[in-house]
């Protein structure tokens, strides 16, 4: 970690060299690198990620406090992304080649085409400020994370990108399913179109979408930085970025490790969900 130029204790003011040495001693940075590393690893086994050099709080505390917020935001945005994305994908697939398809895919494409910092700023301006000025009511709060109306816009802004991914994936997989023989069977039974779509297609079409949820969770959590910054949300995303900029290396390794572990966990959850919706997959074995 010492590769990064700069020193964690450099403040705006120069600190007398004696004080700096004292600081290094206090945080164990005067020891040889190797010793520092061993100590760090040893501490991690005790659940101790060290003390954030920028915040002076234990990294574990920072993560413990900020991550639930990020998770809340992430889950909300994933729900948005999932529900809207699936609907768009279904609409597009069912109306393949027609206006519905074009519109749904255009919406999705715009979702991937506009960077989240622009979407966030626009949502805040139009749905936050302009709506407030028009109605005189605080329909969506502009900042904060303490009320329900504050949690909608950020989740939406964060959802856009993954929503686009999901809807495009859903469209492809839905088209695939709609071309399957068992859909023909269902049709031959006299089921109506909506019955065919909802009873026979959606569940099967969701499965490939579920498999990308793992990486999507990662994207959402790390991408949260921008949105957390715009909407002033006390989440982990911004620590994740700012710790690199401030050379806060206990925080860097702490968050990286935590995210790594979380992503493993998220993938595990995705696997479990996959097993729940696909009866062919057993938890122990592979696919048939």
């Amino acid at each position: 970690m010492h590769l990064i130029p700069g020193d964690p204790f450099v403040g705006a003011k120069a600190i007398p060299p004696e004080t700096k040495a004292a600081m290094n001693a206090k945080y164990g940075l005067d020891k040889p690198l190797f010793t520092q590393f061993i100590l760090y690893v040893a501490n991690i086994f005790h659940g101790d990620f060290g003390i954030s050099l920028a915040d002076k709080r234990p990294v574990a505390d920072v993560i413990g406090q900020a991550f639930p917020v990020s998770l809340d935001l992430g889950i909300r945005s994933l729900i948005f992304a999932f529900v809207i994305g699936l609907l768009l994908g279904i609409v597009a697939a069912v109306h393949r080649g027609k206006a519905g398809d074009t519109i749904a895919m255009l919406v999705a494409l715009i979702g991937v085409s506009v960077p989240s910092f622009i979407i966030g700023a626009l949502l805040q301006y139009f749905l936050g400020l302009k709506l407030f000025e028009a109605t005189g009511m605080c329909v969506f709060a502009i900042m904060g994370w303490d009320s329900v109306n504050a949690k909608i816009l950020p989740a939406l802004a964060l959802a856009f990108g993954s929503m686009a991914t999901i809807s495009r994936l859903m469209r492809t997989s839905m088209l695939d399913v709609l071309g399957q023989d068992y859909i023909k069977t269902a049709k031959a039974k006299g089921l109506s179109r909506s019955q065919i779509i909802w009873r026979h297609s959606v569940r099967n079409a969701i499965m490939p979408v579920v498999t990308v949820m793992g990486p999507l969770v990662a994207a959402v959590l790390t991408g949260a930085f921008v949105v957390e910054n715009i909407f002033t949300i006390p989440g982990l995303g911004k620590y994740f970025v700012s710790c690199v900029q401030t050379n806060d290396y206990t925080m860097i390794s702490g968050t990286t490790m935590f995210y790594g572990a979380f992503l493993v966990f998220a993938n595990l959850i995705v696997d479990i969900i996959y097993c729940l919706i696909d009866p062919r997959v057993k938890l122990t074995g592979g696919k048939e």
């Binding site: 006299g190 099967n204 062919r280």
Partner: protein, 348 residues
């Protein structure tokens, strides 16, 4: 006899990227109550398209009924709306497909899939459906029906799945069952089970069956009547006996003789039909079989042969059956035995 299905001069085309595919080019056929009609023909000759058009299962577009009429139990299918078709499908006519592995929804319990038709058409409750599902599975001789109904398709073997598919198709007692190559994907020993089951069903339930297959052995085993298709047209139509013993069309005859049987002499070459069937993108203007037919005549290349009646319920489309056909001048060495009969039949 009561006619359940009457298809007249059916033309179906597909509009594809590369052009129009004339998949069905004037099919006329009918099915009587309780009989088994087999449709045989080479791959791509339009059997499945014909069958699916009867139920209007083809996605339209790209498929398009260009001409013709279909009457199912007196209902005009061509004019029927999608809503009306939904009420007809499964109730009046149902269908089973070639590959039982892909024809069942992998994420739905077999019992539920089995009784969806009942819920839709007979509005049975969930509990009734469960009972019904078990009954149906028992009907198609699946052991442990109670347990099996709660399982998913992947837990079934291929033969069991095809039997479950049959049960599914029969759940609403349809008048007509269309079986599109029901045994092609199965092993012979399993095929024998399915054939036996189909025979039994026809006997016990009196369901008429359209059996689509490549396998003339299966036809011989099950069919009452046979329609032979080639390149989107029916070239010969007749009772099973007519087709096997008294065929009038050179294609039928070549087809039958190209099959080796247990008794075929191994030292002799098989009778084979050279060439490949025509591409339905550009069907030939004359008889589609002309280029592969060793009896081909000038007229065959120019004009499509009309349907000639050659016996009771036996028709064939070949210019050699035309009353003006002068007979074979220089008889090819191994003329089909049927040729003499053909001349006889052509004298109306």
């Amino acid at each position: 006899m009561e006619q359940i299905l009457d298809v007249k001069n059916l033309h179906v085309s597909f509009d594809t990227y590369a052009g129009e595919v004339h998949a069905v080019r004037g099919v006329t056929l009918h099915v009587n109550a309780g009989e088994i009609l087999a449709i045989v023909g080479e791959s791509g000759c339009g059997k499945s398209v014909t069958a699916q058009t009867i139920m209007k299962l083809n996605p339209m577009p790209p498929a398009r009924i260009k001409e013709g009429s279909i009457s199912l139990c007196g209902k005009d299918i061509v004019a029927a709306s999608e809503k009306e078709m939904q009420n007809i499908r499964g109730a009046l006519v149902s269908m089973i497909f070639q590959d039982p592995m892909t024809c069942m929804n992998p994420t739905m319990r077999v019992g539920k899939q089995l009784t969806e038709t009942l819920r839709k058409h007979k509005h049975l409750s969930k509990a009734e459906c469960k009972e019904e599902a078990i009954k149906l599975l028992k009907m198609v001789q699946i052991p442990n029906a109670e347990e099996r109904a709660m399982q998913y398709p992947h837990e079934f073997s291929g033969g069991m799945r095809q039997r479950a598919m049959i049960a599914m198709a029969l759940s609403c007692n349809p008048k007509l069952l269309i079986a599109d190559e029901p045994t092609t994907a199965l092993d012979v020993t399993i095929q024998a089970q399915i054939m036996q089951l189909m025979g039994k069903i026809r006997e016990e339930l009196g369901t008429a069956i359209i059996l689509i297959t490549h396998d003339l052995g299966v036809v011989a085993n099950l069919a009452d009547r046979v329609s032979v298709m080639y390149a989107g047209k029916i070239v010969e139509n007749g009772s099973s006996k007519d087709i096997f013993y008294n065929h009038k069309h050179p294609y039928t005859s070549a087809l039958l003789r190209s099959l080796p049987t247990v008794d075929t002499d191994r030292s002799k070459a098989l009778v084979s039909i050279p060439g490949t069937p025509p591409d339905l993108f550009a069907p030939p203007k004359g008889c589609a079989f002309a280029s592969r037919c060793k009896y081909c005549m000038h007229i065959c290349r120019e004009q499509q042969p009309p349907e000639f009646t050659v016996g009771e319920n036996h028709t064939a489309s070949c210019w050699r059956l035309h009353p003006d056909f002068p007979g074979d001048k220089a008889e090819p060495s191994a003329a089909p035995a049927a040729d003499t009969a053909a001349k006889k039949g052509a004298d109306k």
